[in-house]
Symmetry: D2
């Protein structure tokens, strides 16, 4: 049943297969009066797109987005915004040989069983190519959040296989092809990935995203809590196997006396909560991390069965990312932006009347 | 905006505060013809309820659920099922003193800021008491899944603070107050918790849930992927800060050649995927784990500010769990049941016509 | 699939059968800070309840509503509001004889075919008794709309069988058991209904509802237009077979030059639109009318078949309304209130930023 | 808030303005395995499109639809279906002069007030041009309903201003430009419309749609009753001011003894219910009628105010339909198809297990 719509008040509905003629989205519920053009969306599309370094898929896609409606004279009108990206570099013949294969770690088997039919070209709808539309749609949310509320959403590669990186320099993140936040680690990363490519293998990664300056009060308990919605949004990105908010799994070994973020008049003294308490944003930085599995498209042969149930060996030789996590940062940022935008609109639907007399706790401490 | 409904086809809407007169739920979309009575729901409510050992809150709640509609002559009719649990043991006066406090680690501040008003008695709606209705509603899903599809959903405490437990004996899980799957570790657990209680502190935990025999094909990509929905359902449980599917964060350091679950005619050779590929169930065990933070209600004094912005010291002396993770197992099971039930109905809405010719991969290997 | 929730931002989910233990509702999304008590809801419940004159069903139901959550110290908190009405006068034995009957004009056959089972007592869920919860929930919407926005929602019986009534006196409507807006017609109405009851027959009715002072801008085109949502809300009331907005079916024979409501600086010169243009409220009175079929529960024998497919004669002797339209006025008002409330919240979610410079057209002319 | 999605299980989301570059839709939830091509959708688009006779707008739009995803090798795959129609004949300069006008009877004023900005070219999103996408999407539903369930959906012009038409010949409906079901009335219709055009005026219409052979059991009470959903779907078509199911407003004057459709072993003896009882389909023909207002774009001058609140006279000289009802038949059919398709999927989500032992009442009698 219809699972291609994200959000309730600010909704994004997408379509498109990896090797079909085009990808598209409809963004519904965007507030009117937002200055908007294709170039606003292009920046993040360019950050996500393949083929920009030797460490990602060599597929060449310009990923040029067109706005087909909902914007008039440079300004959103409140009507649905239609977005379209044409697929350019479709080497579908690469995929004819996998028509009858269930590649291990891929969605071939599950799509076939669920629908009885599948577009096998490049994984069809299950390809991460689909995330281009999430990034385009997320760009609209980011623009609104930044311009109207001053929210800044950024992310970085926190770990690649065994290599853990500290956030040392936000500025550095976008100046290298890995979204690595510590320039000193770049040579190590490159060596590791070159070696991995040589072996025809792949590796997992961890990406962290942060939203600064998000308003207090976002999240709709008990089921549509902000953390639950972030959990859904991030776990729904291709290859993600885990999501953490704030301290995440480290909280398992914490004591209550150290986990709870104490408060003084100067603000919260720590941010184990990741900016969310009781499913509602606190005004601190919202911090989430995801675990991405290694891509399953590798040259190392793997055992599988084909669509007739016969055993076969699978080797993938197409154009693939040795670490899907590398390109995941803008996607995770976009999904976080969509959650915050949707919940900002939902919050003001119910609570626009609220004039609270209680003082706001400063949020500056936790950066 | 209205965030108290879970699911799309099998929906659960809940209400109720910790110290209000009652908790309730409406379960809408239950297939007709299911044999159902209050006792079917009571078993899991009893597993969740407080006061059953010295290691959980001493609040005494019988948690007796009444079915008020939707069941006729012992059988579901297809109309909405109304559920009600009256609150019995409301020591609201315990809470008068926190009326003007923002307890660190609690939702006091966020509820106050969001709504401008809050029911401070026992945390009001933000209390985990609300999860009783999730367990009751989940019981309906569990019964259907078990009777009609043979799905079995179980969980256990995998870690408490520094103590990690292996799954040694499913039978043991329900015969101790911790949902501990390894009876040999019980003395250690008890000692640790007794010491913790003495110190007035609390600790985090990790809980794992497993659904065996779930059908292939559940999940609605790209946004309502099964893993995304499990992510939302489990992250939305009080105190949860992290969710993993299958290998989870361990996937960050795995190579593609070892992460991808190879397939032979005998079935999958491993289950790093946790039973989900491309957001759709594979027929293997669905495996998810959650991290629960230590409860913030502890006797160790903590710094905070009150509703007037003045600094104050907070000490919590009410009846509380030193580890909220202990009682989380039936809640996590219930949420997993709700996700699977909803997605089973959603799947058959769209795909009831599908008669696939491809062979089903045996799922037996991964247990 | 789960069809018992109304609204998107201000949602009402109901449960309950005619002869079950209770009816209930959960109202989710109510803005916090609204003064609210049971007595606010009781007034309309009393207007709807049966047994208040010889012209309606003699079933005696006090219809006392309890608020179980979401209200603290007399004020809504923003959390879901649980409502409960216990059924008092359940003469279920009256219905044992219809267990195997498909009463013509009733939902017996369709419920049986759809669900394979049905609660036959008093029509179960298909009974108009269910509308008590709509009226209770609608009362919350009415209170908010009136207090915060000055919206007044009223209705009247516009036609009963062949007797057409003009709106002569709003004050009179609530002072007679028919919601008749012209006191001069009361003797005629009583004679007609007494005669009808003597014959054991029933008759249809037309009810008109009006919302004054609704804000400009409500409605979410293209599918969730305000007129579409009113169409859904009113057509979904038991026994309704037609809905009109403004001129309604009279528009079929109108010319464009007379239908379109011309505008001067003093306001609109007419209201054929019924206060809605392009699916969005204009600020004029919102006017809608409904056609209610005659109740099918009559003493005049009717041909039918039973659940075994055998022919039988059906005579209904329970307690029934000779004209269901008589009690429909508060139900239609409640549904209109729910639509307006939901759309007010939806509108401000998207358009709270809008500061329009265009002048508002005065709406005073159309009363 | 996001009102451009129709349906819950089979959802249609649309975008596009009258004079923007394109119109589009995403159809999500279509069952896999349906043979589908653009030509399947083109037939109804051609029936709806303007410029096919002198009695409709002279705008020339080929209305060629492209399928951009969700169909592989001629067959639906279960993934979302992207649809696109490029706008060809955009004479936007015709509209520059109405930039500052609030045309009476149009949505200019309400869009401006709601959003603070509007695309004034040809009415922007409020133009009936948007219905092309409804017809395209509805074509997918019609194909499934026809092929898998044998449902046939047809409609006709039942009244145009004072001219009432009987259904004499279904075959004739598509062989004249008015969807007139009685060929003998064609000269009269033509004369009336020619005269109307000469006067520069317009007139209302009534259209009736019928679904034959719809399954018993569709509809999800109490709020998502089938009649409520049809009410919403049809009232949401541009210019519609009234909707009737079955006897409709005629039920107001009917007695219960004549309205209720009696049943014999040969089937129902009448169809005042319009094929729906208790909000659920009976298996009889589903019959609904709509009232369409006269188009407000006429040459007869009308009084209004402009965006500065100054009085002005409005005369519309663009390309318009003298009776929008003429082209409404395929739109109403499409909306009815969408409702039935969505409810068929919703019904089988909940009730696929039901194996009813009760006999089905033959539905043949009511044609």
């Amino acid at each position: 049943m219809s699972g291609n719509t994200f959000g309730k008040s600010f909704t994004v509905t997408t379509f498109g297969e990896s090797h079909g003629p085009a990808l598209g989205a409809i963004v519904d519920g965007c507030p009117p009066g937002l200055a908007l053009s294709e170039s606003d969306l292009q920046r993040d599309l360019d950050r996500r797109k393949p083929g920009t370094s030797r460490h990602t898929s060599q597929r060449q896609e310009p990923d040029r987005v067109s706005i087909l409606s909902g914007v008039f004279e440079g300004c959103s009108t409140g009507t649905p915004i239609g977005l379209l990206i044409e697929n350019a570099d479709q080497r579908s013949k690469d995929y004819a040989k996998i028509k009858a294969s269930f590649r291990p770690g891929h969605a071939d088997y599950t799509y076939q069983q669920k629908y009885g039919v599948r577009d096998y070209r490049g994984g069809g709808r299950s390809s991460a190519r689909e995330t281009a539309m999430r990034v385009a749609a997320g760009g609209i949310a980011r623009k609104y959040l930044a311009e109207r509320l001053g929210v800044r959403i950024r992310g970085y590669l926190a770990q690649l296989g065994p290599i853990r990186m500290e956030l040392r320099d936000w500025e550095a993140v976008d100046s290298n092809p890995f979204f690595c936040p510590d320039p000193a680690r770049l040579p190590e990363l490159e060596r590791y990935l070159d070696e991995l490519r040589r072996k025809g293998d792949s590796v997992g990664a961890r990406v962290t995203v942060v939203a600064e300056n998000a308003p207090v009060g976002l999240g709709e308990p008990v089921f549509d809590r902000l953390d639950a919605e972030i959990g859904r949004a991030l776990m729904g990105i291709n290859a993600v196997k885990g999501v953490e908010i704030g301290a995440g799994f480290a909280a398992v070994e914490q004591l209550g006396s150290s986990h709870r973020d104490e408060i003084t008049r100067a603000g919260f003294l720590s941010n184990n909560a990741g900016g969310i308490l009781g499913g509602i944003s606190t005004g601190q930085d919202i911090v989430a991390s995801i675990a991405l599995k290694p891509t399953s498209s590798i040259r190392v042969p793997g055992r599988s069965v084909n669509t007739h149930g016969q055993p076969e060996e699978v080797v993938t030789t197409g154009r693939h990312d040795p670490c899907v996590g590398i390109r995941a940062t803008p996607i995770a940022e976009a999904m976080l932006a969509l959650v915050l935008m949707d919940h900002y609109l939902r919050h003001r639907a119910q609570c626009a009347d609220v004039r609270t007399a209680t003082p706001v706790i400063p949020s500056g401490h936790d950066r």
